[in-house]
Amino acid sequence: MTRDNESSFFRKPITRRQALKVMGAASAAGLMGAGMPGVLNAQTGEKRPNIVFILSDDHRWDHLGILGHPFLETPNMDRLAAEGVLFENAFVTTSLCSPSRASFITGTYAHTHGVKNNITPWNNDNVTFMELLKNVGYDTAFIGKWHMPGNMPNLRGVDEFITFTIQGGQGRYFNCPLIVNGVEEPSKKPYITEELTDRAIEYITMDRENPFCLMLSHKAVHHKFLPPPEYADRYSDVEVDYPDEMNPLLLFKSQTHFAGVFGSVDLQYKNYCETIYAMDEQIGRVLDTLDEMGVADDTVVIYAGDNGFFWGEHDTIGKRWAYEESIRIPFIVRYPRGVTDGGWSASGMVLNVDVAPTILELVGVDVPDHMEGESFKPSLTNPDIPGREAWLYEYFKDYPYRYPQHYAVRTDTHKYVLYDGRWKPEIFDLKNDPKEMNNLYGTPEGEELLPLLEARLNGFLEQYGLM
């Protein structure tokens, strides 16, 4: 409002009827705040948004139709990006399921929340963003892959906890038994992605007075990359342009045999893409539900992958290493009420540890000091926000996989990776060598870059008490 409007409003005489209307509305707002504490943002007085956070598994950042994938279709994720913000430089601080997932929900690094690999257990003293939202009156739900080592926790602040424990918490694509609030139930649908989506829609459409926060955590698209039967041959005939360095029998040397993944890379890769397609379809059902309920504008939808995945780059299959294919993730945020004219891309670097602080800031809850992420809320309204300059990547040994512990610092332009043991450090110029094929460590150019990169890395290690 302009200054003139303000003075004319307050100077304008009102009738008794108008006064009663205003007083009634103010009382109702106050009652809403008192009787339904979750509804209004205490800081702004605005209605708190719903949160739908969809987290997938092993979904590579560049496997989106909107990013020009040669054949994979992701119309619903593309729609999210077209209506929201696509973060083109989003990363995970540890490229491994359990640590990354814990970082998403706690806003902290693996060395802080303690789930350092797929074996170290979840510490239920960890505070999740769901707990903090529950404290201000949200209805909360976690549906899907939990996959934190250790016993099933009694998650504080989560009203509905639907997950699975079979196969070490990885679940199964078909006929996966669920644990619904501590009780085992058979799945109602054969395919896990559809089953979890059904449960998510059931939760979203429940009668409620409070805003809701739903974390929908898919098993897809983790190995064994199994699509539903109707999509099993969707990309069978596609000619794929694999990385030059990829060995056709790569699966025999990549330890994927531990995961029961055999056969040709081509078969597995196409299954992977078909599984993404099937997951995208289910994401569309969630979006349609929000539309039908008329709450889409008031719902923050976040889509992210828990880590990336190699398909032959660096002659490997999987994740864990600090190379771009592994650490970059797809990351989209849609919030019509909170995003300035959706459909654009943000280039600043954001991390999985930033999601929790951002959600908290969006709903008007103070971000706890212990959270190590930074809210990217400003980036939702200003595409020119530069984002962070550098960040720490960490990977801890995960038995029996033969990846050494390593740390890396990633800036806008370079990456420096330091390994435990006999592996040579690596320095990459990401602008001129985006595929990271040319290790500059030990070269004249590398010698020039090393002091600054080393200082940055050591700075992070000191900051986090890792030295």
Binding site: N117, F258, D398
Partner: protein
């Protein structure tokens, strides 16, 4: 059955197989250096398959040859296991670059190793029974059925069935649970 020299009955067959396996391993892991993509792929696939055959079916190759050349049971068994065990030692060395000695020692029990040894045991048992049958048909006074051979087949099949449950995923989690029971959540993690 004429007993040939130690070199002919066991050392040479094993050495030849080991050499083929080693060359195939080298070819498989270095084929990417060939600039011609088609040639790279052909060599990688051929070498990969040959290497796999040498490691996985070593017993089926060595055992009958050694048997026919008069090798003793101990020689036949050691010869059959040489190439797969060499592969396991190679893996042990790789893994020791990441994990402590005792964690690496435990790695010997991983499902892939158990699979290789089980398959070798199965092959040896079957080859033994076939060898006996061949000798009997030639007029030798020998029982075809031998308890150790039959037992080897039964034990090996049992292990393989366990390993293949869930296409190996189940046995992997058993292996991992064993690791956690001994080492907790990782040494130095």
């Amino acid at each position: 059955m004429e007993t040939q020299s130690c070199s002919k009955r066991i050392v040479r067959p094993v050495a030849v197989l080991f050499l083929i396996a080693a060359l195939a391993f080298f070819g498989f892991n270095n084929a990417s250096r060939i600039s011609n993509q088609s040639l790279f792929h052909i060599i990688a696939v051929v070498c990969g398959v040959v290497h796999m055959i040498c490691v996985v079916f070593s017993a089926a190759i060595i055992y009958p040859v050694a048997y026919r050349r008069g090798a003793s049971p101990r020689e036949r068994i050691l010869g059959s296991l040489f190439v797969p065990v060499a592969w396991m030692i190679k893996e042990f060395i790789v893994v020791s670059g990441v994990y402590t000695f005792f964690e690496t020692l435990y790695y010997i029990l991983n499902p892939v190793n158990v699979f290789l040894l089980s398959l070798a045991l199965l092959q040896m048992g079957i080859c033994e029974l076939f060898g006996r049958r061949r000798r009997k048909r030639r007029g030798e006074d020998i029982r075809v059925f031998a308890v150790p051979a039959a037992l080897a087949v039964v034990v090996a099949l049992g292990l393989l069935i366990f390993l293949f449950r869930g296409l190996g995923v189940y046995s992997f989690y058993v292996f991992q649970e064993g690791y956690k029971a001994i080492f907790g959540f990782g040494v130095g993690v």
